[in-house]
């Protein structure tokens, strides 16, 4: 695995903005379910917020980062159409290194089974 990551680091890089690895831990992959509470359709990253109910019944507020709008539309997104406040969704992604309730999203699955990629894979921009 180390060899693969090294090759990525040496090739012409393909990350749009900043290193994934400085902020997020590629070894802390998570799947979280919740209800969307806020959407910031902005550059250089989409941000959306989600209420997540823990096993203890407590509601936590989580923030997720994603592609910028120009790349979202190429994944099939439309502003205010696919993702709406109140949607029940499942998000996959990677946790922030600082331990805050922040994650880098990769894919969103809606309750009707529809899926859209929302962010690049882990490791883009260095390891």
């Amino acid at each position: 695995m180390k060899t693969v990551l090294l090759l990525l680091a040496l090739s012409i890089p393909a990350w749009p903005h900043h290193s994934f690895a400085a902020e997020y831990d590629g070894e802390k992959f998570v799947t979280m379910k919740g209800v969307v509470t806020k959407i910031d359709w902005q550059n250089p990253h989409l941000h959306f917020y989600m209420d997540v109910t823990t096993a203890k019944g407590e509601v936590e507020q989580w923030k997720f980062e994603g592609f910028p709008p120009n790349m979202l539309v190429r994944q099939g997104w439309k502003k205010d159409v696919n993702l709406k406040i109140g949607d029940h969704i499942t998000v996959t992604g990677w946790l922030a290194r600082d331990g805050s309730k922040l994650a880098h999203s990769r894919e969103i699955t809606w309750d009707d089974g529809k899926k859209l990629l929302s962010g690049p894979p882990a490791g883009t921009g260095g390891n």
Partner: protein
């Protein structure tokens, strides 16, 4: 194969042939040079436009746009120690994270398309990423003597057969070349070679020379693919660049992100 089965085989191949029309030839300008005009995408296409769109764009084209056996950067021993420090810091020092123009050849690897417009005496690159543009004279003029160090450098170009050769000097030392920490000095000299090998493919070769930090020229190669159904959109990196604020927080506690030796 019996005649009957051969006939069935032939019939079975007809629809396939109908679905894969021959590619148009490489378009040419009145002067006879390959015309590079169009919307193009370098870097990792699947990542840039999604797996489904990638499958559609790729057929019946060739391989995805990935560098072929990346050549490691030939840094001097002293320079490599600095590169390794950047890597250990997991790219937090990336100039692009501050929304600065990403330089060359990194702009070619961005997961966002760019448009080339070719005229008789100039070739113009308009990149979606970071609003970068490059206006490159092809009329034989030399580099001007009044350029100042810049992120994208000063380019002039000429044709060598069917290959556009871009010579770039006048860089500042504030960009990374091709990976985390791949710094350079103002002595950087880059030669790009663009060869439209077929209708929807440009082979991109780049040579990076910097006598202060590289022991020999560093060569990279990538494939750039035509994106006939796409257009250059907008990417305004500075709109809400809150990553920088989070970096400031991380930098106060480097144990959170610096790789352990």
């Amino acid at each position: 194969m019996t005649p009957r089965w051969f006939a069935i085989f032939l019939l079975a191949t007809i629809p396939l042939q109908a679905q894969t029309p021959a590619k148009p030839p490489v378009p040419r300008t009145p002067a006879g040079h390959p015309d590079l005009s169009g919307v193009w995408q370098g870097g990792n296409l699947a990542f840039a436009i999604g797996e489904q769109n990638f499958a559609r764009v790729s057929a019946p084209g060739g391989a995805p746009a990935a560098p072929v056996k990346p050549e490691p950067p030939p840094y001097t021993e002293a320079a490599m120690k600095i590169v390794q420090q950047y890597r250990d810091r997991r790219g937090i020092d990336d100039p692009a994270a501050r929304c600065l123009m990403v330089g060359i050849p990194r702009i070619t690897g961005m997961p966002m398309p760019f448009q080339i417009t070719q005229t008789a005496n100039q070739i113009i690159f308009l990149y979606e990423a970071f609003h970068i543009f490059r206006i490159i004279p092809t009329d034989g003029r030399p580099h001007p003597d009044d350029h100042t160090p810049s992120f994208m450098g000063d380019p002039v170009a000429h044709w060598e057969g069917d290959t556009l050769v871009v010579d770039i000097i006048g860089f500042n030392d504030k960009t990374w070349l091709g990976g985390v920490g791949t710094f350079h000095t103002e002595k950087l000299h880059i030669t790009e070679r663009y060869t439209r090998v077929d209708y929807d493919t440009i082979v991109y070769e780049v040579k990076m020379e910097d006598p202060d930090v590289l022991t020999k020229p560093w060569n990279q190669r990538a494939t750039i693919r035509l994106r006939p159904d796409d257009r250059v959109r907008e990417y305004e990196c500075g709109e809400n660049n809150e990553d920088v604020l989070r970096f400031e927080s991380l930098l106060k506690n480097e144990s959170l992100f610096v790789r352990k030796q």
